[in-house]
C-alpha cells in the first residue's frame, strides 16, 4: 500500500513529524498498563500515550490465547507484525477480493459416496489458513480481517507491534481495532478509571438494514450484532475448530493419483 512511490506532488496529508514528540531525555523499559480478560485469554495493552511510543509512532499489544481459544475476527487501522513468543496455532487473513481457495468440494465428493450425508454437510470453502508456531513472524496489513486460533496444548503468547505512523494509516496515530464479531470491555487503565464497551461494527448498523444487506432474517442479524455477548475478544471454541487445511498425508495420497 505504500502510497509514497516517487511522487513529485506527494501529499502532506499525514503530518508525521515526530520532532516535538521525540524530546526524550530518558528511555525506560515498558510494561503493559492495561489488561483485558476474555473468556479464553488475556490482552495486555502498552500505553500508546507514552512519549516513547509516540516518538516511534507505534503501538504494542501482548496477547495470551489459551488452548482452544479463538481470537475473534477484527481489523485495525495500522499494519502490524506479530511475533509468536510461545505456542502454535492457525491464523486466517482475509484478503479482500481474493477467492476462497480452500475448498472441501473435491474431498467431499470423493467421500460422499462412501460415507453419505455426514461429509456432504461438512462442505465449506474459505480463504487460506496459515499454521504458525513459536518463533514465527506474521505480517498483517491494515484493514485486512484477521482471526487466530490456538490448536495446541499450551497457551499462545504473541507480541504485536502496530505501525500507526505508517503511510497506510490515514487516521490519527492511535491504534483502532475494529471488531467484526463479539464485543469487548475496553478494560481499566492504570491512570484512568473509566471502563467502556467496544461493540463490533455490525452493531453500528440498524438490525433491519443489516438483515436486508445480508439477505437474512432479523433474528440472525441480531445474533451477528452480539448484543449480549460477554466473552470478550478471545472466545473458547468448546468443540475445537475444524477448518480445512492440507496435511502431509493428503499430499502423499495425491501423488499416487493419475
Amino acid at each position: 500500500f505504500g502510497s509514497s512511490q516517487e511522487s513529485p506532488f506527494q501529499s502532506s496529508r499525514r503530518s508525521v513529524s515526530t520532532r516535538d514528540e521525540c524530546q526524550i531525555e530518558r528511555l525506560n523499559a515498558l510494561e503493559p498498563t492495561r489488561t483485558v480478560r476474555s473468556e479464553a485469554g488475556i490482552t495486555d495493552y502498552f500505553d500508546e500515550d507514552n512519549e516513547q511510543f509516540r516518538c516511534a509512532g507505534v503501538s504494542a499489544i501482548r496477547r495470551v490465547i489459551e488452548p482452544r481459544g479463538l481470537l475473534l475476527p477484527s481489523m485495525s487501522n495500522a499494519p502490524r507484525l506479530v511475533y509468536i513468543v510461545q505456542g502454535r496455532g492457525m491464523v486466517g487473513l482475509v484478503m479482500p477480493g481474493c477467492p476462497e481457495t480452500f475448498q472441501s468440494f473435491q474431498r467431499s465428493e470423493q467421500y460422499e459416496r462412501e460415507e453419505g450425508e455426514r461429509h456432504r454437510r461438512s462442505k465449506d470453502e474459505h480463504q487460506k489458513v496459515y499454521q504458525f508456531q513459536e518463533g514465527d513472524v506474521l505480517a498483517v496489513p491494515n484493514g485486512f480481517a484477521y482471526w487466530c486460533y490456538n490448536d495446541g496444548e499450551n497457551p499462545v503468547v504473541a507480541i504485536t507491534v502496530l505501525d500507526t505512523s505508517n503511510d497506510a494509516n490515514q487516521l490519527d496515530r492511535s491504534h483502532r481495532q475494529f471488531l467484526l464479531a463479539g464485543r469487548q470491555e475496553e478494560g481499566r487503565q492504570r491512570y484512568r478509571r473509566e471502563e467502556s464497551i467496544k461493540e463490533n461494527i455490525l452493531r453500528g448498523f440498524g438490525t433491519e438494514l443489516l438483515a436486508a444487506a445480508f439477505g437474512i432474517d432479523m433474528e440472525l442479524a441480531r445474533k451477528l450484532q452480539c448484543r449480549d455477548d460477554t466473552r470478550g475478544e478471545i472466545v473458547r471454541a468448546e468443540n475445537g475448530l475444524q477448518v480445512l487445511r492440507p496435511s502431509r498425508r493428503e499430499e502423499e495420497e495425491r501423488k499416487s493419483i493419475n
Partner: protein
C-alpha cells in the same frame, strides 16, 4: 524529460457514461471507478474517484475502506446511509440527499441503500489505490472465513453460518433488492 512525462499527461476521464461501468447489476445499479491505472496522474495526487448509481432500494454491500478516507457527494436521488466506528457505535444514520456531502473515515464501516427514486453519488477517495473490503457477498470478509470461525464468533449454528456466507454469495458490491422490481436508472 518533464515535457515527455508530466506535461502531456492525460488529466481527465469520464465516469458518468454507463458503458464504462466496472460493476453492473441490471437489478441493482453500477459502479465506475477511476484509479491510477486508468488515469496515471492520480498516482501523483494520490486520490481516486468512484461513481455509484443505485436503482430503487438497491444497496451497496456493507464495507470499509482499507487505506483511504471516502468523501461521498450525492448527485441525485436519495439514500439511507449508516456508518459505524471502531467502537461499533453509529456515527451517522441518516439520509443523504442531492447536494449533500458525507465524509467516511478510513476503516469505518458503511452501508448505503437507495430510496424509492434511486441514489447516485460520487465517492472521492484519498488514495489512488484505495481498496475496499466488503463484509458480505462474493469475495467478502465473512465469505472468506471458515464456517466454524463464524459459528464460534457469533454463537450460531452451522446452517446459520452457511446462510450468512452464502445468501449474498453470488453478488458483488451491489445488492439488488429482494422481491423488488427494477426501477429506472
Amino acid at each position: 524529460g518533464l515535457e515527455e512525462t508530466y506535461c502531456s499527461m492525460k488529466i481527465k476521464q469520464n465516469i458518468g457514461d454507463p458503458r464504462r461501468a466496472d460493476v453492473f447489476n441490471p437489478r441493482g445499479g453500477r459502479i465506475t471507478t477511476l484509479n491510477s491505472e486508468k488515469l496515471p496522474i492520480l498516482r501523483f495526487i494520490q486520490m481516486r474517484a468512484e461513481r455509484v448509481v443505485l436503482y430503487r432500494n438497491a444497496m451497496v454491500s456493507p464495507h470499509w475502506n482499507i487505506n483511504a478516507h471516502s468523501i461521498m457527494y450525492c448527485t441525485g436521488g436519495r439514500g439511507r446511509v449508516e456508518v459505524a466506528d471502531d467502537k461499533g457505535e453509529t456515527v451517522f444514520d441518516g439520509e443523504l440527499r442531492q447536494g449533500q456531502l458525507l465524509i467516511v473515515p478510513q476503516n469505518y464501516a458503511v452501508l448505503e441503500r437507495a430510496g424509492s427514486e434511486g441514489f447516485q453519488f460520487v465517492s472521492i477517495k484519498t488514495s489512488d489505490r484505495a481498496m475496499v473490503s466488503s463484509i458480505v457477498g462474493k469475495t467478502s470478509a465473512l465469505r472468506g472465513m471458515p464456517e466454524e470461525v463464524l459459528m464460534n464468533s457469533y454463537r450460531i449454528s452451522r446452517d446459520e453460518a452457511r446462510r450468512v456466507k452464502l445468501t449474498r454469495g453470488d453478488e458483488v458490491a451491489i445488492f439488488a433488492p429482494r422481491r423488488e422490481s427494477r426501477a429506472e436508472a
